[in-house]
Symmetry: C2
Subunit: 216 residues, 2 copies
């Protein structure tokens, strides 16, 4: 049984993560390494070191947006609630998830469009997307809808597209990775999920305020 | 891009998951198979078919507790918010996470005891643990504290111990798996997390109300 103090647990965890990455010959550039370390911390799955891909300077774009006090929009409540809201608000950022907004209908009443996809459309209507960080951890359909909005001219500061799943997830992320107009971060293939989206945003927040992964 | 209806996405996903399990020669008994399928659905990681372990009839114990209208207690808010609350409340169950309760102090003010560990102690004091399902997706320290409470005589209906991490997680789950007085479900080793805890509880809820994995 561990009787370590939380500070010591965090520090020791990142010693093990960095050793694991080094063993696997994974040398990632900063600041991307800080994001990948946190994703591995939240999954204990070193495969993510191979799966994470970004457009050039995407991490930097996310950090800069946070330092300017941007909107962070999530596809689902599990992502929203995991984000370090205190740290975000200290940077004058705001946190939104519209999936349970009264304007969002059951999929059957919206021509089969999922609630999280409708929420993306609603966010565009409300002007929340321009300059924002959009974190999609669950719903490929939300990412697909967001890409339609980007094609129509909407321009977030960064899209974190890490939905998980067997139908549509890998394809939606590949489509995001083909985008040249908006910075992006993805996990290639089927793997991803809410915890990966949360870890990514929280890693960007740490970079934005200058708190290392091995600090609390 | 997928333009499938949500019903079709769910059904097709579980066709692929069952095919993937069969390819790997993984034949799991019901009702455990329904839980493992949902964990793979939420992670796209077939390794969980090898990592999930339970005490005898643990899934059945969880389903029975839910059908009797039990308390579900989670270690963190991310697990709480992912659980299908409507389905739980239709069975007269209640959902709790005490980590942000005013009685829970910062770890530094509580002798280094983490907030989620303090929340377990508080749940015991409030009589929430007896006959409950406790779902721990994040904090090994919460599971360690819960095991101390079990040794002291507290008796949940089921402990879902799936914390993730590099320090303490595997050890805390091994300690749970040595328990003979309370039914348990774990993911062996470092892997686990909030989404795995959520998938497990939601799989039990589906079993409790008779809704298959490929239905919405």
């Amino acid at each position: 049984m561990s009787s370590l103090h939380p500070h010591a647990i965090a520090a020791q965890s990142f010693v093990l993560i960095r050793a694991g990455l080094a063993e696997r010959g994974k040398i990632l550039p900063e600041p991307l390494s800080a994001v990948v370390e946190r994703i591995i911390h939240t999954t204990a799955d070193f495969e993510f070191a191979d799966l994470v891909a970004t457009s050039p300077a995407a991490v930097e774009a996310g950090v800069q947006a946070l330092q300017s006090g941007c909107v962070v929009l999530t596809d689902v409540e599990m992502v929203r609630i995991g984000i370090n809201r205190q740290r975000l608000e200290r940077l004058d950022g705001t946190l939104h998830c519209l999936m349970n907004d009264p304007a969002v209908l059951p999929a059957d009443a919206a021509g089969g469009l999922t609630r999280s996809a409708q929420a993306m459309r609603l966010a565009a209507e409300r002007g929340l997307l321009a300059g924002s960080i959009v974190a999609i951890g669950n719903a490929p359909t939300a990412l697909e809808e967001l890409l339609r909005l980007v094609e129509a001219g909407v321009c977030p500061a960064l899209i974190i597209g890490v939905p998980v799943g067997f139908v549509g997830a890998a394809e939606s992320k590949a489509a995001l990775a083909a985008t040249t107009t908006v910075p992006w971060l993805i996990t290639q293939g089927r793997k991803g999920g809410s915890t990966i989206a949360v870890a990514t945003v929280n890693a960007l927040l740490r970079l934005a305020v200058g708190v290392g992964n091995d600090e609390l």
